[in-house]
């Protein structure tokens, strides 16, 4: 028998699978119109202290309008699943909305560099963190989506990521092999931006889905923003394409260009100028405060945010970059 280790950190978000069954049993699964507004969705579905998960990949297919509204409504003490959380993390930290995070990748914006403000917040200890990896968090969603309390895997063992996680080692009942066990992760609220949804919340995504298929199935509540609302007939004409079925969803909001300044595959590329501006102004807290007033606190909705950053002309350029008509990346 091998020595089995256990991570030293406490599990910050875990529901017993029988409790979750009770919850999902009671969830209203009727086919009802769930159209609402960004501000209503955030007000009604996201409570201070809850644990949220953000779809997409940090700067790709992100629900920016919801993230800004969380900041604008000054939500506090949220938990976050930091599954490649880049610009999404940056926004939530800017608003001082989160106090704990299961991390796989935070602070950075991939090739763009690191967020000075997010780094300060994490290094100061204002945000309590527990270590995981991208696959680990995705498998944690998958366990929750499957309705089991854990899933086994073969990574993370032997490293400090395991040591500062809340994972456990187990022994395989068939092979005797040492495996890592990942506890199911049920976010209180999952927030996802998609290409198409109907008014009930049946959703289609074009291109990679990252971990959103699993995350939507794992979350207690799901908020969908969508590039466009389509008739349910369109969903029914191609049901193979449905990636999130309506009964998981609590709110649907049509937000054209809703992933801006993130990339929306097949539609528009990320606004690299604006993302660079974020990283730049964060170096100076005063400038950053003015920047947030201008871009988030001082604008009344997502249209105005886009307007402030170049409006239709900017969007047109990002569409042309996405379609490889003009150069950029």
């Amino acid at each position: 028998m091998q020595e089995l280790k256990t991570g030293t950190k406490e599990l910050m978000q875990f529901y017993d699978c029988d409790e979750m069954r009770e919850y999902f049993r009671k969830k209203d699964k009727s086919l009802r119109n769930k159209l609402t507004t960004v501000s209503e969705a955030v007000k009604n579905l996201i409570n201070d202290g809850e644990y949220i998960a953000v779809g997409g990949f940090g700067g790709v297919r992100i629900p920016t309008a919801i993230l800004h509204e969380i900041v604008r409504q000054r939500k506090k003490n949220l938990g976050l699943s930091g599954h490649t959380a880049t610009h999404d993390f940056q926004i939530l930290v800017a608003g001082e909305c989160i106090n704990r995070c299961d991390i796989a990748y935070i602070i950075g914006l991939e090739a763009r560099g690191l967020s000075p403000n997010a780094r300060r917040a994490v290094e100061s200890g204002k945000i309590k963190i527990v270590e995981w990896t991208n696959a680990a968090l995705a498998w944690r969603y998958k366990a929750a989506a499957m309705g089991v309390p854990f899933l086994p895997a073969r990574n993370m063992m032997g490293t400090d990521v395991f040591k500062y996680s809340a994972a456990k080692e187990i022994e395989c009942p068939f092979t005797g092999k040492k495996l890592v066990a990942y506890p199911a992760l049920h976010p209180d609220v999952g927030i996802i931006h998609v290409h198409r949804a109907d008014i009930y919340g049946n959703c289609q995504i074009d291109g990679i889905q990252i971990a959103d298929q699993e995350m939507a199935r794992a979350s207690k509540k799901v908020i969908i923003t969508t590039e466009q609302i389509v008739p349910t007939e369109q969903i029914r004409n191609d049901p193979t394409r449905t990636i999130i079925p309506y009964y998981l969803v609590d709110a649907v909001i049509e937000v054209p260009f809703g992933s801006y300044p993130g990339n929306m595959p097949y539609l528009y590329y990320s606004d690299e100028e604006h993302l660079k501006e974020w990283l730049e102004v964060e170096k100076d807290p005063q400038k950053f405060k003015e920047f947030l007033d201008k871009n988030i606190y001082g604008v009344k909705d997502f249209y105005e945010y886009i307007e402030v950053n170049g409006g239709l002309k900017k969007l047109h350029k990002l569409m042309q970059i996405e379609k490889l008509i003009i150069q950029g990346r």
């Binding site: 997409g56 990949f57 940090g58 700067g59 790709v60 930091g82 490649t84 880049t86 991390i103 796989a104 990748y105 935070i106 602070i107 950075g108 991939e110 090739a111 763009r112 690191l114 780094r119 994490v122 290094e123 200890g125 270590e131 995981w132 990896t133 991208n134 696959a135 680990a136 995705a138 498998w139 895997a153 073969r154 990574n155 993370m156 063992m157 032997g158 490293t159 400090d160 990521v161 080692e169 092999k177 040492k178 495996l179 291109g207 990679i208 990252i210 971990a211 959103d212 298929q213 699993e214 990339n263 929306m264 595959p265 097949y266 590329y269 990320s270 690299e272 490889l324 150069q327 990346r329």
Partner: protein
């Protein structure tokens, strides 16, 4: 022979290790350029996975995110992150490319933090992302990194991605898949590999213009020497042409050197 910068050299050298028919998970930057160069030079059948779910795209330009739309442009499959990770876990993927703030003699990588107290790091970095996953689950980890003794350290402050951990057999004892581990570390000075008996890092080739001593001086631990140490072959005219004209015409990557 054209002049070349160190980034161009590292990309060319890395690309030569990627044989035709192999599978690789690539990130953004140099690894992506190395994979594209290999495909255009000698390995048209080198198949690239991206961590967020793309498989076998025809990359039109350098992606800035491993999840952005470039990574599945004209791809053969646009799936999810676990499709890639589980392909790795099943043993389907030969190579991954990683980097880090620190690396030790066993190829353990740190991309999490500098400092000794987890709760009060001196410097905090992004963390694993998919790095631990790829280092654990693909067959061979490749590293492209500049070489200096603050980076090549006796002991990393935090093991984010497993190398050979504490030496031969340690990965297997820890529970990691059998037979996997670090393969090559490609720096601006040379190519480092790993001794089969001890799993310690060793010098295998030295780039033109540098010496074994240059490599040793820029390394914070004792390096072993391969039985035969060669001089790295310079980038060929054709490699440089393809890299500069086709792979990275806007010098996103090669302009960084």
């Amino acid at each position: 022979m054209s002049a070349y910068n160190s980034m161009e050299l590292m990309i060319c050298v890395a690309s030569r290790f990627l044989e035709n028919g192999a599978t690789v998970v690539v990130g953004t930057g140099a690894p992506c350029a190395a994979a594209m160069l290999a495909q255009k030079m000698h390995a048209p059948n080198l198949m690239a996975f991206f961590e967020a779910g793309a498989f076998a795209p025809i990359l039109p330009t350098m992606p800035i995110s491993v999840g952005d739309s470039r990574t599945f442009y004209k791809a053969l499959m646009a799936s999810g992150m676990l499709e890639t990770m589980e392909a790795c876990q099943k043993g389907m993927v030969d190579y991954c490319f990683l980097g880090g703030a620190q690396i030790d003699m066993y190829g353990n990588l740190n991309s999490s933090m500098i400092g000794t107290d987890y709760d009060h790091p001196k410097v905090r970095f992004p963390g694993s992302g998919g790095a631990n996953d790829l280092a654990s689950l693909t067959w061979r980890t490749m590293v492209i990194t500049p070489q200096d003794s603050r980076r090549f350290v006796e002991k990393v402050d935090f093991i984010t991605s497993p190398g050979y951990l504490t030496g031969k057999g340690a990965r297997e004892r820890a529970g990691l898949p059998r037979g996997s581990g670090p393969y090559k570390v490609i720096t601006n000075l040379g190519v480092l590999g790993f001794d089969e008996e001890t799993c310690r890092m060793r010098i295998e080739s030295v780039h033109p213009g540098y010496s074994i001593d240059d490599i040793k001086k820029n390394t914070g631990f004792e390096l072993l020497l391969a039985k035969k140490i060669t001089e790295t072959a310079k980038p060929t005219e054709e490699e440089l042409r393809v890299l500069r004209e086709e792979v990275d015409p806007y010098r996103y990557i090669i302009g960084r050197a």
